[in-house]
C-alpha cells in the first residue's frame, strides 16, 4: 500500500464534491482525508485527497478523476514532494496534576491553547500530518473530549519555475 496525495482542481459548482466522493466510494478507493476550499480563481476549487492503494489503484484514481468532466486538473505527489499541513483542534479535560504537562507538551509541539474553561482547554495544532499523529498519541494519557481535523492540505514544493 502506497500513500498518494491528489491535488485536484475542480469547477466550483454544486454537486462536484458529491461526484468526486461518489467516484471513490463506487470504485472502492480509500479516502484517508479530503479537504476542499476555494482557490485564487473564483470558479475553481481545490480538493486535496489523500488516498492509498497498490500501484494500479493509485493510477486508476488519477485516471478516473481525470475522466470527470468537472475536474480541471489532477496533480499527484508523494509526501516528500510537497509541503503538507493539517490543522487539528483538540478539546481535553485537565486537572491541577496534568495542566503543566499539557502546556509543556504544547510548547514542545508548537501547539497553542486557544480556549480554556475551569476544567477544559482547547489546543490548536497546525503541522505535518506526521506530527499531528504524534501530538494526538502524546495526548492519549490526558482525557481527550473531542477532536476535529481538517485533513491534509498540500501543495507541491516551490520550483525555480512554476507552470
Amino acid at each position: 500500500m502506497k500513500k498518494q496525495i491528489y491535488s485536484v482542481l475542480v469547477e466550483n459548482r454544486s454537486g462536484v464534491l458529491c461526484k468526486v466522493a461518489g467516484l471513490f466510494s463506487r470504485r472502492c478507493f480509500n479516502i484517508d482525508s479530503l479537504a476542499v476550499g476555494e482557490t485564487e480563481i473564483g470558479d475553481v476549487s481545490r480538493m486535496t485527497i489523500v488516498s492509498s492503494g497498490d500501484e494500479r489503484t493509485i493510477e486508476q484514481i488519477e485516471k478516473q478523476l481525470n475522466k470527470k468532466l468537472d475536474v480541471i486538473k489532477v496533480k499527484t505527489f508523494e509526501e516528500q514532494q510537497c509541503i503538507s499541513r493539517e490543522l487539528m483542534l483538540i478539546k481535553v479535560k485537565y486537572n491541577k496534576g496534568n495542566r503543566r504537562d499539557i502546556t509543556e507538551l504544547c510548547d514542545i509541539m508548537k501547539a497553542q491553547i486557544v480556549d480554556m474553561s475551569k476544567h477544559y482547554m482547547m489546543i490548536q495544532v497546525c503541522d505535518t500530518p506526521e506530527r499531528i499523529k504524534v501530538m494526538l498519541s502524546l495526548l492519549q494519557s490526558v482525557s481527550v473530549v473531542e477532536v476535529a481535523r481538517t485533513g491534509t492540505l498540500a501543495l507541491s514544493k516551490c520550483m525555480e519555475q512554476e507552470d
Partner: protein, 538 residues
C-alpha cells in the same frame, strides 16, 4: 420563445429526427412545444424502453439517441436504460422533466433527485436552472455524449425553466469546455512501436471490441487486417466488426465464446485489444493475456488502459484515427503459418451439441435464419441463453449485431430493435429474445403498432429463465429456484390482440419454410420457436 421551445430548437439544430418518451406534467411544456416541430415523437410504454429505443437508434445512426420523460418515477424508471447505455458507451441525450425550481429539495409530488441518482451511470448531467442556458447546455451535452468515449448525458429541466422566457436563443457553433478534451489522435511514437512489434510478431491477433463499431472504424479495421493478414477475434460487443465468415475472423472470445478464439488469444505473441475493456466475461484471466506476449491496448478512454490488464504498449485515441495512421505506414508482416494453425484449431474444435429432435434446435435455427436474412440486416439479441446462442450461431454478413453487453439488461431487444428500425426503415430488423426477456418488453407491441415500426420478433420459448436455470443446473444440481415461467401468455392470442401476424415453429422440420414466411415481407411478425426446456448453451 420559452425554454421548452428552445429545447426543441436545440434538438432540431442537432438534426434529431425522433424522440422516444413518456410524458407527465413536469415535461408537458416540452411535449407541447415539440408539436410545432417535424421531430417525430414515439410514445413508449415504459420509460426504461425509451432509453433502449434511443440506444438502438444511436447505434445505427452514430448520433446520440434522444429520450424525454417526466420527473420522479418517469426519471427513475429511465435509470436502467441509462445504465445499459453507459455500460456499452452508447451516446444518449436523456431529458427529464423536474418539479418547479423553487420546490427542489422539498420532496414534493413526483420529485426525484435524478441527477444524483443517475450520477454513476452518466457521462455527465445537468440540472438546468436558467432557460437562457438551454442552448449552451444542449450544445455541450450532444458534444460530450458523442465524442471521446461516448455515453449518456442527462439533462434535468424543472418545469418553470421550460416555461420561462428565453429571449436570446442562439445555438452555439462551438463548445468550450476547459475540462474536456478527449484524445483523438494516437501518439505516433506508440504507433511506431506497434508497427515494430507487428513486424517481429509470429502470431499477431486483433481483438475487436464494441469501440470499433461505436467509433465507426469497422471498415478500417477490416482493411488493416486484410492488408497485413492479421487474424481477428472479437468480444460480444465487437461482433459484426468483421463479417462472421470472413477468412480472417475467428469468433467471439470469452467464457461464452469459441474455444478456438480463446486459444488464439492465449497463444498469440502480439495482441491488439481494440476498443475493448478487457472485462471479466471476455477475458476471464487478464494475467493470461499479458503473459508471453506484447499486449497493445488501444482505447479512446485512457482509464480503460491498464484497468484490468497492464499493456506493453498503451495507445490512447480514437480507433478510426489510429487505423488511419497504421494504414498509412508500409510494413511487412508474416502470419501465414499462424493463420494455418488457427484454421486448424477452428476445424478441430467444433461445438458439440446434441439437440433434441422434438424441439427447435436454436443453434441450427439461428444459423438458418441468418443465412436467409438480408445482407445488411440488423439482428438484436436479448439477454439470456438466447443471447449466447445468438452470439455463437448468428452469421453477420454486412449488417449489425446489437445486444446489451456490459449490463446484460433483459428486455433490451424489442425496444432497441424499434429504435434501429425507426432509424433505418429500409433495413430488416429482427429482435430475438427468450420468453423471459420478451415478457419484460412485450408492452412495446403497442408502440410498434401505434407508430408503425415493423420489427420482426422471435421468441425462443422454453418456459424457463433458461440462463439462470442452466446456472442452477450446474451449480445447484438442478435445484431450480424461481425460474419456472409457467403462467406466460399464449403468444398466438397475444399477437392477435395486437393485430400482429403470428408463426409457430415446434421442431426443425418446417424451419426453412417458417423462416421464409417470417422474412417474406417487411411487416411485423411474431415467431414463437419452441425450445427444449432442458437445452443448455454449454
Amino acid at each position: 420563445m420559452i425554454g421548452a421551445d428552445a429545447i426543441v430548437k436545440c434538438l432540431e439544430a442537432e438534426g434529431v429526427t425522433t424522440v422516444f418518451g413518456y410524458p407527465g406534467v413536469a415535461i408537458c411544456p416540452f411535449y407541447n412545444s415539440i408539436l410545432n416541430s417535424d421531430i417525430r415523437t414515439v410514445l413508449i410504454r415504459t420509460e426504461q424502453n425509451a432509453a433502449h429505443a434511443a440506444s438502438g437508434m444511436a447505434r445505427l445512426t452514430g448520433k446520440p439517441g434522444v429520450c424525454a420523460v417526466t420527473s420522479g418515477p418517469g426519471a427513475t424508471n429511465l435509470i436502467t436504460g441509462i445504465a445499459t447505455a453507459f455500460a456499452d458507451s452508447i451516446p444518449l441525450i436523456c431529458i427529464t422533466g423536474q418539479v418547479n425550481s423553487e420546490l427542489l429539495g422539498s420532496d414534493v409530488f413526483q420529485e426525484a433527485d435524478i441527477t444524483g441518482a443517475a450520477e454513476s451511470f452518466v457521462k455527465y448531467s445537468y440540472l438546468v436552472r436558467d432557460a437562457e442556458e438551454i442552448p449552451r447546455i444542449f450544445k455541450e451535452a450532444f458534444h460530450i455524449a458523442n465524442t471521446g468515449r461516448k455515453g449518456p448525458v442527462l439533462i434535468d429541466i424543472p418545469i418553470d425553466v421550460q416555461n420561462a422566457v428565453c429571449n436570446k436563443f442562439k445555438y452555439p457553433e462551438e463548445v468550450s469546455l476547459r475540462t474536456y478534451k478527449p484524445t483523438v489522435k494516437g501518439n505516433m511514437a506508440q504507433i511506431k512501436k506497434v508497427i515494430k512489434g507487428l513486424e517481429k510478431a509470429k502470431r499477431p491477433l486483433i481483438c475487436a471490441g464494441g469501440g470499433v463499431l461505436i467509433g465507426e472504424a469497422e471498415h478500417k479495421l477490416r482493411e488493416f487486417a486484410e492488408k497485413h493478414n492479421i487474424p481477428v477475434v472479437s468480444t460480444m460487443m465487437g461482433i459484426g466488426a468483421m463479417p462472421t465468415r470472413h477468412p480472417l475472423y475467428f469468433g467471439m472470445v470469452g467464457n461464452n465464446g469459441r474455444a478456438y478464439a480463446n486459444r488464439a488469444m492465449n497463444e498469440s505473441d502480439m495482441l491488439l485489444m481494440v476498443g475493448a475493456r478487457v472485462a471479466d466475461r471476455a477475458v476471464n484471466q487478464p494475467e493470461v493475456i499479458t503473459r508471453n506476449k506484447v499486449l497493445v491496448h488501444m482505447d479512446v478512454d485512457p482509464a480503460e488502459i491498464g484497468k484490468n490488464a497492464g499493456p506493453t504498449i498503451p495507445l490512447v485515441g480514437d480507433v478510426g484515427h489510429i487505423f488511419d495512421d497504421l494504414l498509412a505506414e508500409e510494413f511487412e508482416t508474416d502470419s501465414a503459418e499462424w493463420l494455418e494453425t488457427l484454421a486448424q484449431y477452428r476445424a478441430s474444435m467444433p461445438i458439440k451439441r446434441n439437440p433434441n429432435p422434438k424441439y427447435v434446435d436454436p443453434a441450427k435455427f439461428i444459423t438458418m435464419l441468418s443465412e436467409s436474412m438480408k445482407d445488411d440486416a440488423v439482428y438484436v439479441a436479448d439477454v439470456g441463453q438466447n443471447q449466447i446462442w445468438s452470439c455463437t450461431y448468428h452469421i453477420v454478413k454486412n449488417g449489425r449485431f446489437l445486444t446489451s453487453g456490459g449490463m446484460g439488461t433483459m428486455g433490451y431487444s424489442i425496444p432497441a430493435a424499434m429504435g434501429a428500425k425507426a432509424a433505418c426503415m429500409d433495413r430488416q430488423v429482427i429482435a430475438v429474445c427468450g420468453d423471459g426477456s420478451f415478457q419484460m418488453s412485450m408492452m412495446e407491441l403497442a408502440t410498434m403498432r401505434q407508430h408503425k415500426i415493423p420489427v420482426k420478433i422471435i421468441v425462443l420459448k422454453n418456459g424457463y429463465l433458461g440462463m439462470v436455470r442452466e446456472y442452477q443446473h450446474y451449480t445447484y444440481k438442478d435445484n431450480y429456484s424461481v425460474v419456472d415461467l409457467s403462467g406466460s401468455p399464449d403468444l398466438e392470442k397475444l399477437a392477435a390482440a395486437y393485430d400482429l401476424p403470428f408463426l409457430r415453429l415446434e421442431n426443425m422440420e418446417k424451419a426453412q419454410e417458417t423462416i421464409d414466411a417470417f422474412l417474406k415481407d417487411d411487416g411485423s411478425v411474431l415467431l414463437e420457436c419452441v425450445i427444449d426446456p432442458m437445452d443448455l448453451v454449454k
